[in-house]
């Protein structure tokens, strides 16, 4: 078991290296003078030269890479031109907001997609099956930014149910005491019910927007996987043994069907992290996505590099976790390792 975990960890290292290399190359691929880009449009020629020295842009590519790695290890992700803050500080501060949004969206999507997929598989040809097919085809066609706008329009403007889509928390409230950085959890830990509801109210629409998009692949995979499992030999044995249909469905069929669904989570997270950026813009959510967009608008390159690197590392770690979870669920995995 330990061996399997260790092997998986080692297997993630080349991907981490790849992420670091790519983010390094991206900034060196800037057309024109990279130093000028990092120094900003308003910089004097002396400032540009300073940046060039500091980033070692006059050295060979290998040496530059070495410097880059050294800086990263020290936690130096550069400085944001527009805010003057170190990039790492701002990223760390904003990351919990993005993570809360992502995980909540995944939770919402899973709560709907899994039962939907199971029901569609056990009642082929029924209205649930057709609904499932409709959702899975339409869901992946929805542009997340558009869905967000529509939801805000309907629920905030037309129906007045949702609060104004202007960030994480109504300014009337102050954020809960930071323990995890995630407002929902922190407000629960502090026992503040009204605050919890306020945070939830702000979180619901952006989370639904993101969740709707990933609902489709999850439901599709659950349905397909269940269909496959339900026609397998061991289900026939279970039924021939007279096991109750709930036992057959959940203990036997669903647990086995879950395996390919877990594998799909990798792709799901790719969508989630990508659409995070778009949703944060629509709902003015103060996460790392909106940080990146603000920096793009200001042609501020160090934060963008930090953002891409963070997202890359986050994604590699998420995929690693998925692999490990899969290894825990499926006892056969130890064999291949």
């Amino acid at each position: 078991m330990i061996r399997v975990i260790a092997l998986r960890l080692i297997g993630a290292i080349p991907n981490l290296i790849g992420v670091v290399v790519v983010t390094f190359l991206l900034t060196r691929a800037l057309p024109g003078d990279p130093a000028a880009f990092f120094a900003g449009a308003a910089a004097t020629p002396e400032a540009v030269e300073q940046i060039r020295e500091k980033l070692g842009l006059n050295k060979t590519l290998i040496e530059q890479f070495g410097l880059y790695l050294f800086d990263l290890a020290r936690g130096d992700f550069g400085q944001s031109l527009s805010t003057g803050q170190p990039v790492l500080t701002e990223l760390v501060q904003r990351l919990p907001a993005s993570l809360e949004l992502t995980f909540f969206a995944l939770l919402l999507a899973t709560i709907i997609a899994l039962p939907l997929g199971i029901m569609a598989a056990t009642r082929p040809g029924s209205w649930i099956d057709h609904l499932c097919r409709l959702i899975t085809t339409a869901g992946v066609s929805l542009p997340t930014f558009f869905t967000g706008l529509l939801l805000a329009y309907v629920f905030y403007f037309l129906l007045g149910i949702a609060p104004s889509p202007l960030g994480r928390l109504d300014p009337v409230f102050s954020p809960p005491r930071p323990v995890t950085g995630m407002y929902l959890i922190d407000s629960l830990l502090a026992g503040e019910g009204a605050l919890f509801r306020a945070c939830l109210a702000q979180l619901i629409l952006p989370a639904i927007t993101m969740g709707v998009f990933v609902l489709a692949p999850l439901a599709r995979m659950t349905r397909a996987s269940m269909l496959g499992v339900l026609s397998s030999d061991f289900i026939r044995t279970a039924r021939a043994s007279g096991l109750a249909s709930s036992t057959v469905l959940y203990t036997y069929a669903f647990r086995n069907a879950l395996l390919p669904v877990v594998t799909t989570l990798g792709m799901v997270f790719s969508f989630l992290l990508g659409s995070n950026v778009l949703v944060e813009k629509v709902f003015a959510w103060p996460g790392i996505g909106s940080y990146a967009i603000e920096s793009l608008t200001a042609s501020d390159y160090a934060p963008i590099q930090g953002f891409v690197l963070t997202m890359g590392v986050l994604y590699v770690l998420l995929n690693l976790s998925i692999d490990l979870i899969y290894g825990l669920i499926d006892p056969r995995v130890g064999l291949e390792a």
Partner: protein, 281 residues
């Protein structure tokens, strides 16, 4: 051949939805080609007196903040959005298949390096990588195409590599070599034709995804600049107004965008049913 035609007719008749998607696809292509002729107004012509008008008989989709006719802008944007998607997918297809074939056919170091390339691309959330590439290369439509092409490479690399591997391991290659065929001939005659079916399905699905990608990038300000009409940027322009009730500026471009992507996804599913029903989900 007639068996294939019968099968296609069977699938299409079973699946009126696919037929509908195909009709929609044709409509879009016509719009892209005939855009300037069909559009009722000049998409760039501003008329501040008629700004922010809701849909009416004169302006079916209303006007935007600068008084431009939204319907005309949407029609003209079709050419740009489709153009970006086609160019990006074509690049992905050509380079991805070539790399994948090399990896699967020659094996060894070719395989390792190309696979490493594909894995590195896939190590990022794809949209984020596209953002990074466009930010690095510069804010232009060409770079949107390149970025979208790069992030779609791994799909084609994998498809081509898998097929080439299967043939290689099955002894096809040795047999063909023994019969005197050179590498190039083997690749083009024996391996490439077998890659086409799954690759074509991938192309259709990727087109939808490429359009979404390009629209997403321009929504956050990358690539297309105002006043160029493009579906994503039009939704961005309408974003500020929709919250205060002026829904049509963002609604119509968004709906058309959704329709286009939906159309490609349905086509892709239909193609997959025709070509390989076993993989149907």
């Amino acid at each position: 051949m007639s068996a294939t035609l019968r099968h296609i007719r069977y699938v299409l008749s079973e699946n009126l939805v696919t037929l509908g998607a195909f009709a929609l696809f044709t409509a879009f292509v016509l719009l892209a080609v005939l855009g300037p002729i069909v559009a009722p107004y000049d998409p760039l012509a501003t008329d501040t007196a008629r700004a922010m008008q809701p849909p009416s008989a004169a302006h079916w989709f209303g006007t935007d903040a600068l008084g431009r006719d939204i319907l005309s802008r949407i029609i003209i944007a079709t050419r740009l959005d489709f153009g970006i998607a086609v160019a990006a997918v074509a690049l992905s297809f050509v380079f991805g298949i070539a790399l994948g074939l090399a990896a699967g056919f020659f094996g060894g170091w070719w395989d390792r390096i190309i696979l490493r390339l594909a894995d590195t691309i896939m190590a990022f959330p794809l949209f984020v990588l596209a953002m990074g590439i466009v930010a690095a290369l510069g804010n232009s439509v060409a770079n949107i195409v390149y970025a979208t092409a790069i992030i779609n490479l791994p799909f084609y690399i994998r498809v081509a590599r898998a097929e080439a591997n299967v043939r290689r391991n099955a002894g096809f290659v040795e047999a063909a070599r023994l019969a005197g065929n050179g590498d190039w001939r083997i690749l083009s005659h024996h391996i490439f034709p077998n890659i086409l079916p799954p690759a074509m399905v991938q192309v259709s699905l990727n087109m939808g995804w490429a359009i979404l990608n390009a629209a997403g990038l321009s929504f956050i300000g990358l690539g297309v600049r105002p006043p160029t009409p493009e579906w994503g940027i039009m939704v961005a322009e309408g974003a500020t107004y929709i919250i205060s009730g002026e829904w049509w500026v963002a609604f119509f471009p968004g709906m058309v965008l959704m329709l286009a992507v939906f159309c490609f996804n349905l086509l892709g599913d239909g193609l997959r049913d025709i070509i390989d029903p076993r993989r149907r989900t």
